[in-house]
Protein backbone atom coordinates (compact mmCIF):
# COMPACT_ATOMS: atom_id res chain seq x y z
CA UNK A 1 0.00 0.00 0.00
CA UNK A 2 2.66 2.46 1.06
CA UNK A 3 4.54 1.70 -2.16
CA UNK A 4 1.55 2.68 -4.28
CA UNK A 5 1.09 5.86 -2.26
CA UNK A 6 4.75 6.74 -2.66
CA UNK A 7 4.56 6.24 -6.41
CA UNK A 8 1.43 8.40 -6.61
CA UNK A 9 3.05 11.19 -4.62
CA UNK A 10 6.17 10.96 -6.74
CA UNK A 11 4.05 11.25 -9.91
CA UNK A 12 2.18 14.18 -8.40
CA UNK A 13 5.36 16.07 -7.60
CA UNK A 14 6.76 15.30 -11.05
CA UNK A 15 3.68 16.66 -12.79
CA UNK A 16 3.81 19.74 -10.56
CA UNK A 17 7.39 20.31 -11.71
CA UNK A 18 6.32 19.73 -15.31
CA UNK A 19 3.60 22.34 -14.83
CA UNK A 20 6.27 24.72 -13.57
CA UNK A 21 8.73 24.11 -16.38
CA UNK A 22 6.66 23.84 -19.56
CA UNK A 23 6.54 26.89 -21.81
CA UNK A 24 3.27 25.80 -23.37
CA UNK A 25 0.67 27.01 -20.91
CA UNK A 26 -2.03 24.67 -22.16
CA UNK A 27 0.16 21.63 -21.42
CA UNK A 28 1.06 23.17 -18.05
CA UNK A 29 -2.64 23.37 -17.23
CA UNK A 30 -3.10 19.72 -18.15
CA UNK A 31 -0.23 18.87 -15.81
CA UNK A 32 -1.99 20.91 -13.12
CA UNK A 33 -5.12 18.86 -13.77
CA UNK A 34 -3.08 15.68 -13.22
CA UNK A 35 -1.82 17.10 -9.90
CA UNK A 36 -5.41 17.74 -8.82
CA UNK A 37 -6.57 14.30 -9.87
CA UNK A 38 -3.79 12.52 -7.99
CA UNK A 39 -4.50 14.73 -4.99
CA UNK A 40 -8.14 13.61 -5.20
CA UNK A 41 -7.03 9.96 -5.16
CA UNK A 42 -4.80 10.68 -2.16
CA UNK A 43 -7.71 12.34 -0.36
CA UNK A 44 -9.73 9.20 -0.96
CA UNK A 45 -6.90 7.04 0.41
CA UNK A 46 -6.74 9.31 3.45
CA UNK A 47 -10.41 8.47 4.10
CA UNK A 48 -11.81 11.79 3.03
CA UNK A 49 -14.34 10.91 0.30
CA UNK A 50 -16.14 14.25 0.58
CA UNK A 51 -12.98 16.18 -0.08
CA UNK A 52 -11.95 13.80 -2.85
CA UNK A 53 -15.23 14.44 -4.60
CA UNK A 54 -14.92 18.18 -4.22
CA UNK A 55 -11.33 18.18 -5.46
CA UNK A 56 -12.25 16.05 -8.48
CA UNK A 57 -15.33 18.06 -9.38
CA UNK A 58 -13.94 21.53 -8.66
CA UNK A 59 -10.16 21.26 -8.70
CA UNK A 60 -9.75 18.96 -11.66
CA UNK A 61 -12.76 19.71 -13.85
CA UNK A 62 -13.92 23.28 -13.37
CA UNK A 63 -10.56 24.89 -12.63
CA UNK A 64 -9.07 23.30 -15.74
CA UNK A 65 -11.99 24.53 -17.80
CA UNK A 66 -11.61 28.09 -16.48
CA UNK A 67 -7.86 27.99 -17.17
CA UNK A 68 -8.43 26.76 -20.72
CA UNK A 69 -10.97 29.51 -21.37
CA UNK A 70 -8.55 32.12 -20.02
CA UNK A 71 -5.67 30.81 -22.14
CA UNK A 72 -7.87 30.84 -25.23
CA UNK A 73 -8.60 34.51 -24.59
CA UNK A 74 -4.95 35.41 -24.02
CA UNK A 75 -1.81 33.72 -25.26
CA UNK A 76 -0.83 30.09 -25.36
CA UNK A 77 2.94 30.32 -25.05
CA UNK A 78 5.02 31.84 -22.34
CA UNK A 79 7.64 34.20 -23.75
Amino acid sequence: MIIIVSILIFLMLVSAIIAAVLKDLLSAVIALCVVSLIAAVLFYLLQAPDVAMAEAAIGAALVTAIFVIAIRKTKRFEE
Binding site: D50, M53, A54, A57, A61, L62, A65, I66, I69
Partner: protein, 228 residues
Amino acid sequence: MRKIISAILLIIIAGGITLSLMKIPFGIPKTKVGEYYINKGREETGATNIVTSVVLNYRGFDTLGEITILFIAALGVGAILSLGRKRTDKKEKIEPTSSIVYTGCRFLFPILLLVGSYIFIHGHLTPGGGFQGGAIIASAFLLIYLSCPGKRVNEKYSKITESLAGLIFIVLGLIGLAIGQEFLFNFLPKGTLGTLLSAGIIPIIYIAIGLKVGSELTGIIDNLIEKS
Protein backbone atom coordinates in the same frame (compact mmCIF):
# COMPACT_ATOMS: atom_id res chain seq x y z
CA MET B 1 19.69 36.58 -8.43
CA ARG B 2 15.99 36.40 -7.85
CA LYS B 3 16.15 32.62 -8.07
CA ILE B 4 18.90 32.36 -5.46
CA ILE B 5 17.12 34.63 -2.98
CA SER B 6 13.86 32.73 -3.41
CA ALA B 7 15.65 29.40 -2.97
CA ILE B 8 17.29 30.57 0.27
CA LEU B 9 13.98 31.88 1.56
CA LEU B 10 12.26 28.60 0.74
CA ILE B 11 14.98 26.54 2.44
CA ILE B 12 14.59 28.57 5.65
CA ILE B 13 10.83 28.04 5.65
CA ALA B 14 11.30 24.36 4.87
CA GLY B 15 13.64 23.92 7.81
CA GLY B 16 11.19 25.55 10.19
CA ILE B 17 8.30 23.47 8.94
CA THR B 18 10.26 20.22 9.22
CA LEU B 19 11.14 21.00 12.82
CA SER B 20 7.59 21.82 13.78
CA LEU B 21 6.17 18.79 11.99
CA MET B 22 7.98 16.63 14.53
CA LYS B 23 5.30 17.70 16.99
CA ILE B 24 2.51 16.50 14.69
CA PRO B 25 3.02 12.77 14.14
CA PHE B 26 1.17 11.27 11.21
CA GLY B 27 -1.62 8.81 11.73
CA ILE B 28 -2.14 9.13 15.46
CA PRO B 29 -5.44 10.41 16.88
CA LYS B 30 -4.83 13.72 18.54
CA THR B 31 -7.95 15.79 18.87
CA LYS B 32 -10.69 16.05 21.41
CA VAL B 33 -12.98 18.07 19.19
CA GLY B 34 -13.04 15.60 16.31
CA GLU B 35 -13.68 12.72 18.71
CA TYR B 36 -16.61 14.60 20.22
CA TYR B 37 -18.13 15.16 16.79
CA ILE B 38 -17.82 11.48 15.90
CA ASN B 39 -19.32 10.27 19.17
CA LYS B 40 -22.07 12.82 19.60
CA GLY B 41 -22.65 13.93 16.00
CA ARG B 42 -25.32 11.41 15.18
CA GLU B 43 -27.62 12.17 18.08
CA GLU B 44 -27.02 15.91 18.09
CA THR B 45 -27.53 16.56 14.39
CA GLY B 46 -29.16 13.42 12.98
CA ALA B 47 -26.80 13.12 10.02
CA THR B 48 -24.85 9.93 9.34
CA ASN B 49 -22.17 11.79 7.40
CA ILE B 50 -20.22 13.45 10.19
CA VAL B 51 -18.41 15.76 7.78
CA THR B 52 -21.76 17.15 6.70
CA SER B 53 -22.83 17.66 10.27
CA VAL B 54 -19.59 19.53 10.97
CA VAL B 55 -19.84 21.63 7.81
CA LEU B 56 -23.47 22.59 8.24
CA ASN B 57 -24.20 22.40 11.92
CA TYR B 58 -21.19 22.66 14.20
CA ARG B 59 -19.33 24.98 11.84
CA GLY B 60 -22.29 26.22 9.81
CA PHE B 61 -21.18 29.82 10.10
CA ASP B 62 -18.05 29.03 8.07
CA THR B 63 -20.24 27.66 5.33
CA LEU B 64 -22.31 30.82 5.32
CA GLY B 65 -19.08 32.76 4.83
CA GLU B 66 -17.97 30.36 2.15
CA ILE B 67 -21.05 30.73 -0.04
CA THR B 68 -20.66 34.47 0.42
CA ILE B 69 -17.15 34.22 -0.99
CA LEU B 70 -18.36 32.38 -4.07
CA PHE B 71 -21.09 34.98 -4.45
CA ILE B 72 -18.45 37.73 -4.26
CA ALA B 73 -16.30 36.00 -6.86
CA ALA B 74 -19.23 35.66 -9.27
CA LEU B 75 -20.12 39.32 -8.75
CA GLY B 76 -16.52 40.44 -9.07
CA VAL B 77 -16.03 38.57 -12.35
CA GLY B 78 -19.22 40.13 -13.66
CA ALA B 79 -18.30 43.63 -12.48
CA ILE B 80 -14.77 43.54 -13.89
CA LEU B 81 -15.88 42.22 -17.27
CA SER B 82 -18.90 44.48 -17.65
CA LEU B 83 -16.93 47.74 -17.69
CA GLY B 84 -14.38 48.91 -20.22
CA ARG B 85 -15.56 46.47 -22.84
CA LYS B 86 -15.24 47.81 -26.32
CA ARG B 87 -18.62 47.70 -27.96
CA THR B 88 -17.64 46.25 -31.28
CA ASP B 89 -20.79 44.17 -31.36
CA LYS B 90 -19.72 42.29 -34.37
CA LYS B 91 -21.80 39.20 -34.54
CA GLU B 92 -19.30 36.43 -34.21
CA LYS B 93 -19.91 33.69 -36.62
CA ILE B 94 -21.14 30.75 -34.63
CA GLU B 95 -19.41 27.65 -35.78
CA PRO B 96 -21.42 24.53 -35.12
CA THR B 97 -19.55 21.88 -33.22
CA SER B 98 -19.11 18.42 -34.57
CA SER B 99 -22.12 16.20 -34.25
CA ILE B 100 -20.27 13.76 -32.00
CA VAL B 101 -19.66 16.42 -29.37
CA TYR B 102 -23.19 17.73 -29.79
CA THR B 103 -24.86 14.35 -29.36
CA GLY B 104 -22.56 13.33 -26.53
CA CYS B 105 -23.21 16.49 -24.59
CA ARG B 106 -26.96 16.29 -25.18
CA PHE B 107 -26.85 12.78 -23.80
CA LEU B 108 -24.68 13.62 -20.78
CA PHE B 109 -26.41 16.85 -19.73
CA PRO B 110 -29.53 15.38 -18.06
CA ILE B 111 -27.48 12.60 -16.45
CA LEU B 112 -25.06 15.08 -14.93
CA LEU B 113 -27.92 17.22 -13.64
CA LEU B 114 -29.45 14.14 -12.06
CA VAL B 115 -26.16 13.03 -10.47
CA GLY B 116 -25.53 16.54 -9.14
CA SER B 117 -28.96 16.78 -7.56
CA TYR B 118 -28.66 13.29 -6.11
CA ILE B 119 -25.36 14.21 -4.52
CA PHE B 120 -26.60 17.30 -2.77
CA ILE B 121 -29.95 15.86 -1.74
CA HIS B 122 -28.20 12.91 -0.07
CA GLY B 123 -25.46 15.06 1.42
CA HIS B 124 -26.30 14.12 4.99
CA LEU B 125 -26.26 10.37 4.30
CA THR B 126 -23.50 9.68 1.80
CA PRO B 127 -20.27 11.40 0.79
CA GLY B 128 -20.88 14.59 -1.11
CA GLY B 129 -23.05 17.58 -0.61
CA GLY B 130 -23.94 21.00 -1.87
CA PHE B 131 -20.52 22.02 -3.11
CA GLN B 132 -19.77 18.84 -4.99
CA GLY B 133 -23.28 18.61 -6.41
CA GLY B 134 -23.24 22.27 -7.39
CA ALA B 135 -19.92 21.83 -9.16
CA ILE B 136 -21.25 18.85 -11.10
CA ILE B 137 -24.31 20.85 -12.16
CA ALA B 138 -22.02 23.67 -13.26
CA SER B 139 -19.96 21.24 -15.35
CA ALA B 140 -23.20 20.03 -16.99
CA PHE B 141 -23.82 23.61 -18.09
CA LEU B 142 -20.20 23.88 -19.20
CA LEU B 143 -20.90 21.00 -21.57
CA ILE B 144 -23.83 22.92 -23.03
CA TYR B 145 -21.56 25.91 -23.65
CA LEU B 146 -19.08 23.63 -25.37
CA SER B 147 -21.56 21.86 -27.60
CA CYS B 148 -23.98 24.64 -28.52
CA PRO B 149 -22.02 27.90 -28.93
CA GLY B 150 -24.32 30.88 -28.76
CA LYS B 151 -26.69 29.30 -26.29
CA ARG B 152 -26.72 31.04 -22.92
CA VAL B 153 -28.21 30.54 -19.51
CA ASN B 154 -30.84 33.10 -18.61
CA GLU B 155 -28.99 35.46 -16.31
CA LYS B 156 -32.09 36.72 -14.57
CA TYR B 157 -33.21 33.31 -13.37
CA SER B 158 -29.78 32.32 -12.13
CA LYS B 159 -29.56 35.62 -10.25
CA ILE B 160 -32.90 34.98 -8.56
CA THR B 161 -31.81 31.44 -7.67
CA GLU B 162 -28.61 32.72 -6.08
CA SER B 163 -30.37 35.36 -4.01
CA LEU B 164 -33.19 33.12 -2.86
CA ALA B 165 -30.87 30.26 -1.93
CA GLY B 166 -28.71 32.60 0.13
CA LEU B 167 -31.77 34.05 1.81
CA ILE B 168 -33.10 30.57 2.66
CA PHE B 169 -29.89 29.83 4.58
CA ILE B 170 -30.11 33.08 6.53
CA VAL B 171 -33.83 32.85 7.20
CA LEU B 172 -33.47 29.29 8.53
CA GLY B 173 -30.71 30.54 10.80
CA LEU B 174 -32.84 33.41 12.03
CA ILE B 175 -35.78 31.08 12.75
CA GLY B 176 -33.32 29.06 14.81
CA LEU B 177 -32.40 32.25 16.65
CA ALA B 178 -36.06 32.97 17.40
CA ILE B 179 -36.91 29.44 18.53
CA GLY B 180 -33.74 28.06 20.05
CA GLN B 181 -31.97 31.22 21.20
CA GLU B 182 -29.01 30.62 18.89
CA PHE B 183 -28.38 31.37 15.23
CA LEU B 184 -28.49 28.23 13.03
CA PHE B 185 -30.09 26.19 15.81
CA ASN B 186 -31.35 22.93 14.30
CA PHE B 187 -35.02 23.43 15.11
CA LEU B 188 -36.67 20.79 12.90
CA PRO B 189 -37.19 17.22 14.18
CA LYS B 190 -34.16 15.03 13.59
CA GLY B 191 -36.14 12.08 12.19
CA THR B 192 -34.89 8.50 11.95
CA LEU B 193 -31.16 8.19 11.52
CA GLY B 194 -30.16 7.28 7.99
CA THR B 195 -33.39 8.11 6.17
CA LEU B 196 -33.76 10.84 3.59
CA LEU B 197 -36.04 12.99 5.72
CA SER B 198 -33.78 13.32 8.73
CA ALA B 199 -31.24 15.67 10.25
CA GLY B 200 -33.59 18.65 10.53
CA ILE B 201 -32.50 21.69 8.58
CA ILE B 202 -29.36 20.11 7.09
CA PRO B 203 -30.87 18.72 3.85
CA ILE B 204 -32.78 21.96 3.19
CA ILE B 205 -29.64 24.05 3.59
CA TYR B 206 -27.60 21.67 1.47
CA ILE B 207 -30.15 21.81 -1.35
CA ALA B 208 -30.04 25.62 -1.19
CA ILE B 209 -26.24 25.55 -1.25
CA GLY B 210 -26.22 23.12 -4.17
CA LEU B 211 -28.46 25.39 -6.24
CA LYS B 212 -26.49 28.48 -5.25
CA VAL B 213 -23.07 26.99 -5.98
CA GLY B 214 -24.31 25.55 -9.26
CA SER B 215 -25.74 28.82 -10.49
CA GLU B 216 -22.74 30.87 -9.31
CA LEU B 217 -20.15 28.65 -10.97
CA THR B 218 -22.28 28.61 -14.12
CA GLY B 219 -22.42 32.38 -13.96
CA ILE B 220 -18.63 32.63 -13.69
CA ILE B 221 -18.14 30.37 -16.71
CA ASP B 222 -20.82 32.22 -18.64
CA ASN B 223 -19.18 35.57 -17.94
CA LEU B 224 -15.74 34.29 -18.88
CA ILE B 225 -16.89 32.75 -22.16
CA GLU B 226 -19.36 35.33 -23.36
CA LYS B 227 -18.32 38.69 -21.99
CA SER B 228 -14.56 38.76 -22.13
